[in-house]
Amino acid sequence: MKYVDEFRDGDVARGLAAAIAREVEPGWRYAFMEFCGGHTHAISRYGVADLLPPEVRMIHGPGCPVCVLPIGRIDQAIQLALNQGVTVCTYGDTLRVPASEGLSMLRARARGADIRMIYSAADALALAQREPQRQVVFFAIGFETTTPPTALVIRQAAQLGLTNFTVLSCHVLTPSAITAILESPEVRDLGTVPLDGFIGPAHVSTIIGSRPYEHFAEEYRKPVVIAGFEPLDVMQAIRMLVRQVNEGRAEVENEFTRAVTEDGNLKAQALVSEVFELRQAFEWRGLGMVPYSALRIRERFAAFDAEARFGLVYQPVPDHKSCECGAILRGVKTPLDCKLFGTVCTPETPMGSCMVSSEGACAAHYTYGRFRDIPVVAG
């Protein structure tokens, strides 16, 4: 654990905190969005906000894979398992996301649906190989980090000639989501969401590289600092963003050089484009329909596309009308602005997706930070 602990050193953190406090211009306000749920989690889990000066405010972004998954997509997976008798495999957090009719994948399981939690795409493929009489659907979600493994299992299934394995692809793309935020009226026209820069994704950037963010720096004049998921990475990135703002620069900088290059992982990119192509539009929770923001399986691999195999038609389903997840995912509101937060919407009974994953803004605040909302006699 030595390697990890180096990036969580309290003394170094205090030194960085002091440096940030020294460097902020008195009277200025700095609002930075950490795009990724991994960063949101690190900030909450390690209490990073306690170390920041009051001038710096962090806005939680939409980069939490289960948070942006719309109800309609989860409904599709549940219907497949409940009505078509298939075995649906997916990643842990996805199981608890609320869907239509008070269901979630966990609750559907209690109703007899065969839904299984897996740790990797390869687990789903192995299940299909092991039990040829069973139709296995891998409900594939996530950003660019989780896409290459999905592409790999599709290619392997094709090589093996499997007839009982398909993928319901809900893979989404980070740059499109950032564009959607920058183009949102609150940021672009109304200015109600001050946004002075981004902390760029860690794991996603190991795949796509740092180049895709140059557009945001140039076109929208927003600094981007790509950072690792450790709390010291986040602190260092904030310091770099403060400097860019102070100096009037808007550039892509890379704090996470130990893993991210300009071009990213070319082999993974080639694999993904062999299997996937852009969808014209995809519905995101919070951001609505976002053009060219997700991936679908190419015609060549249609035999492994659950949408094709089972003739699925996407039906958008509106969120609960009081749920503010949409506004929270765009940075327009905070969890405390939602009247459901902590009353009817809790981690045990999530109404919206932001309360599900520990990377979601609401769950992170509820689990790690709610003591800040109430004056507490601290020891």
Partner: protein, 348 residues
């Protein structure tokens, strides 16, 4: 002359069938050959519907605790459902401050369950009971149809004697008290998870399952003002401390840097996106005592083989909201909340 008219149980290749729960000869044979032989003691030998036990000493009160065990897999590194069923209930009695005396055990067996596995589980259970000095004095067996159980479920009930004047309770914590753990956290839960999900880590993570009444006695002797003992099983340290905060109407502040976690477990948690504070333990105590007794208590625990890595990890504060907070090693502060539902791995 024929010696007997009974064909012995095939403990190597046989399996449980419905007749083993049917109340006939097969059931009697299973009980005597598997359970009776392993647990053998004067009360079981009586063969009555219940056990007649001597009353505890003068001034002593009885403590009773019960625990259902439904672990999967049944066998895991460091133990199995058998010894776990003994330790779990012995520990529930022990943390009340009582001396565990007797156990009752009931088994729900699934049709088709291999008798060899059952015998292995019962042997492990008997060994654990003997080691703890707590005999299984009465029991019950039921068989359910295939598909209606998960191999074997074991419920144990324990009885213990509480000395006069002893009063340990989750409601006793007071502002200023010290919070102490008896060793590394998360070992049992992570051992189970690694087996269940077939996660191959470099070296095996072993369950910490153990009977804690010896260690509990050490704690009570070392800290006369001891407020409470708990064993942080399901939900881990986080759940148990939240329970204590609720019961006592206090807050608790933990010091993350002081909390002992085995490097293997920490690495596995890191890999899966889990928090060791939420993971189950089966061989650890939490103690709350007045601050001035904390050093003596930690020293006494460390002198016991089950408490070698004991540490003072936090303090009780006045807080009407009853929050459990933690000073992170990073220098910030966060809540340590109950788990929401089951702990699931993060994705990205």
């Amino acid at each position: 002359m024929k010696k007997n008219y009974v064909r012995p149980l095939d403990l190597r290749h046989g399996s449980v069938d419905l007749s083993h729960g049917g109340g006939g000869r097969a059931m009697v044979q299973l009980i005597s050959d598997v359970f009776g032989k392993a647990f053998d003691n004067e009360w079981l030998r009586q063969g009555d519907d219940g056990a007649v036990l001597p009353a505890p000493g003068p001034g002593e009160r009885l403590v009773v605790a019960t625990d259902a065990h439904v672990v999967s897999p049944l066998f895991f590194p460091g133990g199995d459902i058998g010894c776990l069923a003994v330790h779990g209930t012995v520990n529930d009695v022990a943390v009340m401050g009582a001396r565990p005396l007797y156990l009752a055990a009931s088994f729900v067996l699934e049709e088709g369950f291999p008798l060899a596995d059952l015998a292995r589980i019962v042997a492990s259970m008997a060994a654990a009971a003997r080691e703890a000095g707590v005999p299984v004095v009465t029991g019950d067996t039921k068989v359910v149809e295939k598909g209606k159980g998960d191999g074997v479920f074991i419920t144990t009930t324990g009885i213990g004697a509480l000395p006069a004047g002893s009063n340990l309770s989750g409601a006793n914590a007071r502002a200023g008290d010290a919070v102490i753990v008896s060793g590394t956290l998360g070992d049992h839960g992570m051992a189970i998870m690694a087996q269940r999900e077939n996660l191959a880590f470099d070296s095996e993570i072993r369950s910490d399952t153990a009977a804690l009444h010896g260690l509990a006695a050490v704690a009570m002797a070392a800290a006369p003002g001891l407020r409470l003992l708990r064993d942080p099983t399901r939900g881990g340290l986080a759940a148990t401390l939240n329970e204590i905060a609720q019961q006592s109407g206090v807050g608790i502040v933990l010091d993350e840097a002081a909390i002992p976690v085995d490097p293997q477990v920490a690495a596995a948690c890191e890999f899966l996106g889990l928090d060791p504070l939420n993971i189950a333990n089966e061989g650890k105590l939490i103690a709350v005592c007045p601050a001035d007794e904390a050093d003596a208590l930690v020293a006494a625990l460390r002198a016991h083989p089950l408490g070698a890595r004991a540490a003072r990890v936090g303090e009780v504060i006045a807080d009407e909201h009853r929050f459990v907070q933690m000073k992170t090693a990073f220098g910030g502060r966060r809540m340590v909340d109950w788990l929401a539902g089951e702990q699931l791995p993060r994705i990205c």
